[in-house]
Assembly symmetry: C2
């Protein structure tokens, strides 16, 4: 696979983003949804910030308080034996296993804009910020589907009640209308198809079941984008392959002559995140036509290998111009990069 | 709370049910959905059957094969150290923790009918049987909501892909129309309200998130009963109380002057299942008005305490006649019983 990584990579880093509070620091500007709006490429950055801590033995966990509209800062002692701090992203109570009690940062969505798709100007203020009890731990990994003149933005809403997927919409990237949670916990990596298929909207989603089953990709249908049903299991993990740990949708499905092309992420059991592709039937997106045996993009550049959570390439949005797929992607849970691939080459690389 | 348990209890036991195959034995006839159809009370029994095993060291796990339409029997050796057999209901691979790989029985839905609500005649054949790839481990715990002349029946669909909730409908308890999975994994204990509220259908549901959150009751809305959204967290576990382990909806919500009364099950951390109640706003079922501090029904009778999985009372359906709530309920994951309670007494017992 020929991959042309931009010379400007990483395009956006945490250092480029002004913290939204003086006592916070930006540790991530990554996993951005992508939209074309008028003559600009819009990045809907996931910005992760954490409280600045002068005490090396203390971890501070920010939590949004719905009643005050302010953040509460919970301080946890690294020596507190009740907690497991081994994953830099989360704080777990040991009695609860790998189920987390706090996040170490708060994520929200910030806009960045570019005329050339390479040089981005970042807004000074948050665009979408936690605003209800299902978002008190933050909002993450936005995707954007344009239908007509409306941009549907959906993201992981994280709270002690679980991780689900919520929907908002905008026509101008200024005014935002909230539509509530469209996929209940535990779910993330939702991708809404950009047009109706035989009279119904479709979406990919990624439930994480507990009692049995794995983090795999499902498909659902809707009449109105707000209510979803007829859930079907679409593709699963593959033993011994690059996507044997967890998988989830990445970019909004691309309509091609051969089918709907979904660029998805797959992680191995040791948390190395790559991008691959799956091709779905044009008339019935619950039917799989072909899939990548090997990744189309792997973490290889230094900015992909090293970072807050390294060895991660994770796309939440692409732009397609003719045969060129401009794949924007988060790197190492830290920054944003972009690479160009050939649409035809991706299609040819699949196993039918 | 005054509870009048029927003298005939248990009303239906596994011994009353003819196995659907000669080489199987019925181990459970429990957690039945309840409907009034013409002059009969209909029980939609969850019947659990397992392959008869002559080898004490072998556990046989039945799995429905979608392609052949037959059951496959997987034999597992009790001495196989890869597996954990400590929960009689499931078989777990130790490397996967408490996530199960097989069930020890296959459940499906069988009808039982009664003119007096106490003496039931049980059909000889299954009514609803696993029929697709999301039901290969069986279907469990049906509930029934009557809307007009249609009975909507929904149940847990269990497969290696996870446990979700699927919907069928019937007008005559003979012909059944399938509507697919309405709540994706992991979810169960769905209860659809019996009428629209301000133009929308509502349902309670019970997601089981993995990364964070607990098995708690949520509410969702729909325009068509098939597609669901605007998910909201409704009520949670309560530390130190009878419902501190897991909770889930039980019976179809009962419309009263004070609000929608939901009779729900709560289990303690040591898996003692009781029934309690929560009262929801008539105009907005996402708003909680009152809740039980103590259970309205606890496992006390011998048939509730002892059985395949003891110390369980678990109602999936009630009939209300004036002030009398006829609560049908599964006991010890084994049999069916019924108790009468006063609707007014339940409402008066709640903490507002």
């Amino acid at each position: 696979m020929n991959v042309y990584r931009y010379e400007e990579n990483p395009l956006v880093t945490p250092r480029d983003v002004k913290p939204h509070r003086d006592d916070f620091e930006v540790i991530g500007a990554f996993n951005a949804g992508i939209a074309q709006y008028k003559d600009e490429v819009i990045m809907l950055l996931r910005v992760a910030e954490r409280p600045i801590s002068d005490e090396p033995k203390v971890v501070k966990a920010p939590v949004y308080n719905v009643e005050t509209g302010e953040l509460e800062i919970h301080s946890l002692d690294l020596d507190d034996e009740r907690y497991d701090f081994s994953d830099p992203r989360v704080i777990c109570e040991k009695k609860n296993g790998k189920s987390f009690s706090y996040l170490t940062s708060l994520s929200y969505i910030r806009l960045a804009r570019s005329k050339d798709g390479r040089n981005f100007t970042i807004d000074d203020e948050p665009f979408i910020y936690p605003s209800n009890e299902l978002e008190t731990f933050g909002i993450e990994d936005p995707r954007v589907t344009q239908i007509g003149d409306t941009y549907y933005i959906y993201y992981s809403a994280v709270s002690p009640a679980g991780v689900g997927e919520s929907l908002v919409s905008t026509k101008d990237f200024v005014e935002v209308e909230h539509h509530g949670m469209i996929f209940c916990p535990e779910n993330k990596d939702v991708l809404i198809f950009p047009e109706k298929i035989n009279g119904l909207y479709y979406a990919l989603h990624r439930p994480v079941p507990k009692s049995t089953g794995a983090p795999e990709i499902w498909v659902a249908e809707s009449t109105n984008l707000l209510h979803w049903g007829n859930h079907k299991h679409l593709i699963g993990l593959r033993d011994g392959m690059w996507d044997n740990g967890r998988i989830g949708g990445g970019a909004v499905p691309i309509k091609t002559e051969k089918g709907w092309l979904e660029l998805y992420h797959g992680a191995s059991k040791d948390d190395r995140y790559c991008m691959g592709a799956v091709l779905l039937d044009l008339e019935n997106p619950a039917k799989v036509i072909a899939r990548s045996e090997t990744p189309i993009l792997e973490p290889e550049a230094d900015y992909e290998v090293d970072g807050f959570f390294g060895n991660v390439v994770f796309s939440c949005g692409v732009l397609v111009e003719g045969d060129v797929v401009k794949m924007y992607y988060g790197v190492a849970d830290t920054s944003m990069a972009c690479a160009e691939l050939s649409l035809q080459e991706i299609l040819d690389s699949l196993t039918y």
